[in-house]
Amino acid sequence: MRHIISILVENEAGALSRISNMFSARGYNIESLTVAPTEDASMSRMTVVTKGSDEVIEKITKQLNKLVDVVKVVDLSEAEHLERELMLIKVRAGAREREDMKRMADIFRGRVIDVSDNTYTIELTGDGAKLDAFIQALDQSAILETVRTGASGIGRGNRILRV
């Protein structure tokens, strides 16, 4: 099953590699991994999307907790949570496609953030499935470049992850 795990980690050099090393050394899968400092600059927050049976996920959270730099670990998918990913996608937008492309971006609530004579760069946020759907909806030959951040997640309502 797909799980989305949030990790609070000391903002130390090498913290990211400790975590990614643990996954590769023990043969766990990483679908995506995002990391950035939090409001407290001494701490980073990581979101790891992984797949595995309940047993494997339990092992992953235990191994994460064992890392000295890791402050807290939460499996967000255990309860209600929100998940967002940002995609920047550059598409061909010549005179012929321009209108269609703009309309498609609007339908998906994307924003055109850069324009040239024959390209648009569209910014789109959502969960992974929505971004996938947008890509599917486009004429594949019109896609020039895509970049996705991987998912970030947060618990719903009063579910708060902090120290």
């Binding site: 980690v9 000391e10 050099a13 090498g14 590699s17 400790r18 090393n21 050394a25 047993e55 339990e58 092992k59 235990k62 191994q63 907790n65 064992k66 000295v68 730099d69 890791v70 402050v71 120290v163």
Partner: protein, 570 residues
């Protein structure tokens, strides 16, 4: 408040002052460019003594042996690049067996890091998977607190090696020195006490057991829980087995002890593991060499209680019914309180069954042989030393025979590389054990193949007058490899014959020690007696043993714990 005048010290001075503050007696190391300033400061003082090894692998193993054989922490000091990479095998060995250790490594100057400088390597990257934690100190102001953290992390929770990498320029930079008494880290707070409710439930389970079994590992030795374990067995009368790492955790001569379990464990211990109805695992991790195939192990229903300081060890290979995370002595103290004045079930029938298994006498061997049987050497070693020696070993058949035939009544007397299985460990570990236990008898049980992997340390033994007795079981084969090739590879002895062996007697003499060649069973005991009389000398005893002897019982890889090959099966 008077402000205490603090001194400005160089990084190198700070390193030494920190080691002094930690009460470090010995540092095992080897100098080189990046650590020259640290060596300079070592030279100027006499509190911390340095032991110059002949290869950095020896430094790490010696620090490790020092830790294992005492309740103190081993420290090693190596230079950047090859100094560190040579030590990696020793660091990984300590990591696999959860041995507390601090490694200080030199690094190229901060401005040169990443430029492929001379003797540069990514130390933190290379060691990351085989240390509990590691640090690169980029600012001298962080040095003292980082070293404090290293000692703190290495010795608390599930222990392990911690490395501090120090660039050369940091050892020359100055700052005010203050060594913190304690450190607190928000991300690192190992538990001590176990969950009271879980302990209560577990105690109840033990009281209801009809076929109980106590299975303990290295955690009991490391956490100094042997007294509590003895008390638990005394209170309950339950049978107990130790893993290879746990030997000495419970007295090997006690009738409640069923011997070691696992791949080369006793018939009775393995049978009892499979057929018990309540199993209490203490500081042990159900690894592949211990319970064999986990699916086979699961064929018999039983309730499992697992006490361990490390939550990630619980339900890793075998699903556990009642986990208790905590420091073993604390948890066992709580157990003992609950079990006091309570009566467990009558388990006479269980003991009768166990004694029947025991009657199989699975460790028997041919006493009338014309050639020296390795088992015989170990039996005699046990007799001659009165069971009081610290025994280190290398890896292979000799290691298993030592574990089977030397009865360890106390913890920290059996020093071997259980997890990583590092050949070459025995001799340097014996050096550490000798220095940690002045006056103790230390023997290194080894084989002609293993001993050659860190042979150069004979020179260190000479320099520091370390009177280790080397028990070389020389069968001219990598015995365990040969055994597997015989059993599972159709007698094709691919590259396991040790040709062109040195004359070990001359070799020992070449290093300034004594050597003795023993090739007749009748000479075994006199040679051992003679050697152990020489309290001040290292004696290399080269026993020419039966070349085809195998270790029994044996659970073949991937098989179940009761699917043992016994000697008569062949």
């Amino acid at each position: 408040m008077d402000r205490v005048k603090t001194e400005e010290l160089t990084g190198a001075e700070i390193v030494i002052r920190c080691l002094q503050a930690e009460g470090v007696e010995y540092v095992f190391g080897y100098p080189g460019g990046a650590v020259l300033w640290i060596y300079d400061e070592l030279f100027k003082q006499d509190k911390v003594r340095h032991v110059l090894v002949r290869h950095e692998q020896g430094a790490a193993h010696a620090a490790d042996g020092y830790s294992r054989s005492s309740n103190k922490i081993g420290v090693c000091l190596v230079t950047s690049g090859p100094g560190l990479t040579n030590a990696v095998t020793g660091i990984a060995t300590a990591y696999m067996d959860s041995i507390p250790m601090v490694i200080i490594s030199g690094q190229v100057p901060t401005h040169a890091i990443g430029e492929d400088a001379f003797q540069e390597c990514d130390t933190v990257g290379i060691t990351r998977p085989c240390v509990k934690h590691n640090f690169l100190v980029r600012d001298v102001k962080d040095l003292a607190v980082t070293i404090k953290k290293a000692f703190h992390i290495a010795t608390t929770g599930r222990p392990g090696p911690v490395l501090v990498d120090i660039p050369k320029d940091v050892t020359t930079h100055k700052c005010e020195f203050h060594y913190p008494e304690t450190v607190s880290m928000r991300s690192y707070n190992p538990v001590k006490k176990g969950h009271a409710g879980q302990i209560k439930k577990a105690a109840q389970l033990l009281l209801e057991a009809r076929r109980p079994m106590i299975y303990t590992g290295g955690g009991v030795v490391l956490s100094n829980a042997a007294p509590q374990l003895r008390e638990l067995v005394k209170l309950t009368g339950f049978p107990v087995t130790n893993t290879l790492m746990g030997l000495g955790g419970y007295p090997g001569t006690d009738p409640k002890f069923l011997g070691m379990l696992g791949m080369h464990g006793t018939y009775q211990a393995n049978m009892a593991m499979q057929h018990c109805d309540v199993l209490i695992a203490i500081g042990a991790r159900f690894d592949d060499r211990v319970i064999g195939n986990p699916e086979h192990f699961a064929l018999n229903p039983r309730k499992i209680i697992h006490i361990d300081i490390d939550p990630s060890s619980i339900s890793k290979r075998v699903r556990v019914d009642l986990p208790i995370v905590g420091n073993i002595p604390d948890v066992l103290d709580d157990f003992l309180k609950l079990l006091q004045d309570r009566k467990p079930q009558d388990i006479k029938a269980w003991w009768k069954q166990i004694d029947e298994w025991r009657g199989n006498d699975c460790l028997r061997y041919d006493h009338a042989a014309k050639v020296i049987k390795p088992q015989y050497v170990l039996e005699k070693l046990y007799e001659v030393t009165g069971g009081e020696a610290i025994i280190t070993s290398d890896v292979g058949q000799h290691q298993m025979w030592a574990a089977q035939f030397y009865k360890f009544d106390k913890p920290r007397r059996w020093i071997n590389s259980g997890g990583l299985g590092t050949m070459g460990f025995g001799l340097p570990a014996a050096m550490g054990a000798t220095l940690a236990n002045p006056g103790a008898t230390v023997a290194c049980v080894t084989g002609e193949s293993s001993i050659q992997m860190c042979l150069q340390e004979l020179s260190t033994c000479k320099q520091y007058r370390l009177p280790i007795k080397i028990i070389n079981l020389n069968n001219k084969y990598m015995g365990m490899v040969r055994q597997w090739q015989q059993f599972f590879h159709g007698n094709r002895y691919s590259e396991s014959y040790m040709d062109a062996l040195p004359d070990f007697v001359k070799l020992a003499e070449g290093y300034g020690h004594s050597g003795v060649l023993i090739d007749k069973p009748a000479d075994v005991e006199p040679a051992l007696r003679e050697a152990f009389k020489r309290k001040k000398d290292l004696v290399f005893l080269d026993f020419l043993t039966d070349q085809t002897e195998n270790v029994y019982p044996m659970i073949p890889g991937g098989k179940g714990i009761t699917e043992m090959i016994l000697s008569e099966d062949l």
